[in-house]
Symmetry: C2
Subunit: 477 residues, 2 copies
């Protein structure tokens, strides 16, 4: 692990006292661990940061148990860090001031499925895969699909999204209410189960995206969607990124309810061909999905085919049966790992810019020119319908020069996205890594408002300290 990607000089460590550890052990028995392996696992996420282990890990089973841990830690002002499956990518989980990690993986009960309301209530540790398995046979599914089989609690905390967002929205759009444990150790439900409400400040959306810094999320009620009658997948190549992007935007403007719209750039296609021994055309390519009744799919695909043709799109490859669709989309599913193989032994610094739709093609073109100018190897793919794209900047993890060049590129990309009216992060969150971009994006006064909220709801900085709008000010990796 790299010096460049260590957090700044660690703030004062606030380790639990032996008494507190004893108290947690007495209450939780084997479910309170201080084993080095367990601590290391819980101080590591998918980012390139060196691990920062907590001082203890507690596996909770309920909101009440979570409240017990919070009350116990609050007395000593010991930090609390929530943990789902550890799939966050910006250093969200690192215990930069030490403290107790609250692991929700055993809090994985699906508490209620309500087909009549199109909602389900789950404990925070339920993963999206577990929820969809529980929904099998009901005719409904949970739509939010980030890359990892993340926990619902973690997805709420980071305001996650994925390939389904263009049709069904992000985690924010699929949230009805939350149960959270506050700094005073109270269990609070943020809203009723009604589909809409105007009853006071929106606590649900305040906690969604708060990355565990305002309280611990223990339960969530989420929206469900009926399975569409049928699906069809299509793949089509374009002469340029701009042509591919414009095809998606025009389709959305025409009101076509695309189920998925992913773009892979030419370099990603090269990576896929090398990795999977395929012979796909090495051009910017759209992976599309249509859903609805057979008639709707036919109508939608006719419209999109016409739009694609007007932008120089090639022939559509189609798949209708589930296995065929899955096969057709394999290059998209394997893109991340295929890309890493472009430079064996590399790691990826993955960017997450998101811009207004009309600026997307221009922003990607400028970004590809920047990559070329600086000799960086970085496949680009994106959730085109959301204006969100990822560059996988491939670097030798042992090369300080390459890592610094990748970070400098990331900074230029963020500034470019902001110039285009966009954001530094569409779906990965802030964590440790993006804090120094927040003031550029929201202005000093916007960050001051966020800090005021943090101070109000967590006056002793118990919850995931050092993240999002850390009191100590911006942190550079």
């Amino acid at each position: 692990m790299l010096a460049e990607l260590s957090p700044p000089a660690r703030a004062q460590r606030r380790a639990p006292s032996p008494d507190l550890i004893a108290r947690l052990r007495q209450h939780f028995g084997e479910r309170c661990s201080t084993s080095q392996a367990v601590l290391l696992q819980h101080g590591t996420d998918e980012s390139a940061y060196a691990p920062q282990p907590p001082d203890a890990v507690v596996y909770v089973h309920s909101s009440e148990e979570t409240a017990f841990v919070v009350q116990a830690c609050a007395r000593e002002r010991v930090p609390l860090i929530g943990f789902g499956v550890g799939s966050s990518v910006e250093g969200h989980l690192l215990a930069v001031e030490g403290g107790v990690c609250v692991d929700f993986s055993q809090m994985n009960q699906v508490l209620a499925i309500r087909p009549g309301d199109l909602t389900a209530t789950v404990q925070a540790g339920v993963t999206r895969g577990q929820l969809n398995a529980a929904l099998a046979g009901t005719g409904f599914f949970f739509s939010v699909d980030p890359g990892a089989d993340a926990s619902i609690g973690g997805m709420v905390a980071t305001a996650a999204s994925g390939t389904n967002t263009v049709r069904y929205g992000t985690m924010r759009d699929n949230l009805v209410n939350l149960t959270v444990v506050t700094a005073s150790g109270e269990v609070v439900r943020t809203a009723s189960r009604a589909r809409k409400s105007a009853a006071g400040y929106n606590l649900t959306q305040l906690y969604c995206g708060s990355e565990g810094t305002l309280g611990l999320i223990t339960e969530a009620t989420v929206r469900l969607h009926p399975h569409p009658e049928a699906c069809a997948a299509a793949v089509v190549h374009f002469p340029s990124v701009r042509a591919a992007v414009d095809c998606v935007i025009e389709s959305i403007q025409m009101g076509v309810p695309l189920a998925r719209a992913e773009m892979l750039d030419a370099l990603t296609l090269c990576a896929v061909n090398a990795h999977s021994r395929t012979t796909l055309s090495e051009h910017p390519t759209l992976f599309l999905e249509f859903s609805g009744s057979q008639a709707q799919i036919a109508e939608q695909s006719d419209t999109v085919r016409e739009i694609a043709a007007s932008h120089g799109g090639g022939d559509f490859a189609w798949a209708h049966l589930p296995e065929e669709r899955s096969r057709l989309w394999t290059p998209r599913h394997h893109a991340y790992f295929a890309c890493l193989q472009l430079k064996p032994g590399s790691r990826s610094l993955t960017t997450d810019a998101c811009v207004p739709l009309s600026a997307l093609a221009q922003c990607i073109e400028e970004t590809q020119a920047d990559l070329a100018e600086h000799g960086l190897l970085a496949p680009v793919f994106g959730h085109v319908g959301d204006g969100n794209f990822h560059c996988l900047v491939l670097v030798d993890p042992d090369s300080a020069t390459e890592n610094a060049a990748a970070e400098a590129f990331s900074q230029r990309l963020v500034q470019r996205a902001l110039r285009h009216g966009g954001t530094c992060t569409g779906e990965h969150g802030v964590g440790l890594h993006k804090q120094h971009y927040l003031a550029e994006e929201h202005g000093a006064e916007g960050v001051a408002l966020m800090r005021a909220v943090k101070q109000a709801l967590d006056p002793h900085n118990l919850f995931n300290p050092g993240k999002v709008v850390a009191a100590a000010g911006p942190q550079h990796p």
Copy 2:
């Protein structure tokens, strides 16, 4: 106006000094008014509360002018109350501690229309009608449609919704970012223009629904939707409220993207027949709208017709051309005024409960039984697809007994909605009138979190004091 519907003993009045008034006059000239007629107009909303006029009204033209007013008032701790068109219904606008009303009606520029992004940016005083007029010919429209031609700023402040919500969502779902003026008189943009973001706390959704208590909303970027290719309206009668509600819920469960789904109960139909000299069947009735391509409309309406038949629904009356559709929906459009005529000279105490879909039929049935038991005259109609319904409790405005009975009913209704997992207000907001329900709905600790947020963002209680979570505690009308 009634003693029962006056706010509680007025908190200490914080009137502007003569110096402050002089300063505002110097800056705004004729746009600063202290005329009694203007003050009275700005201290009155659509609620039954006695007017509470502010001490001055300032007509602002920009965020910077708004910031000037806030800075000037902040020095003297004088309250600031935002004003759009005055169509709020729960006492939101009443200057219970006096102060300066900031009128946004002259801040009515559509700043940008961006078809490529499917967004528009408007000043807060632009009404939904003005925005849609500006969008004529673009192929896009703004969907949120509360009863009044409200200002967008007011709709953001109250988290408004309307008949389009079942398809396009509430104001919350159609909001990209806001410009707000904070307690320190700074102009802050709450988010970028990207369609999604995970960059820090969700300030946009915190201000949406805050009813002017956290800052003044001066601009908003909202989502636009493409006009559907075609629309069709239908009206169908049912043997019971439950049958009508179940028809809508099953249609949503089947994935039918209903454009509108309004239910009028039998009493409302009686009122409509009496008012418009029509001979509609006096049964619970659904007013439906379908949209999309002709083929999609045909497909959707076949599905819904089948579901309706299985619930004893009668024949569908159809309309396809705009004028025909408007004529078919006339009873729905006139329902409010028709209902008031059921009891000439009456006013309506209008409730706003919203419950999970599966509980809606039961909740309405129990509510109608309650009305019958207490001899109250109250037509019921609702946005069935959202679980939201309104009872228009018709009372003699001069009868303290009738008003008290209506308020007691309202309280029972809220408690019933909460028992069914719902909320005291789906779309009207809290204002003065619903504050005493918030603790029941969110618990003391939930309200404490909201108060902490209020204290953090408005430490001197400048913005719309006495509303939502007034520092002084719950207020009963």
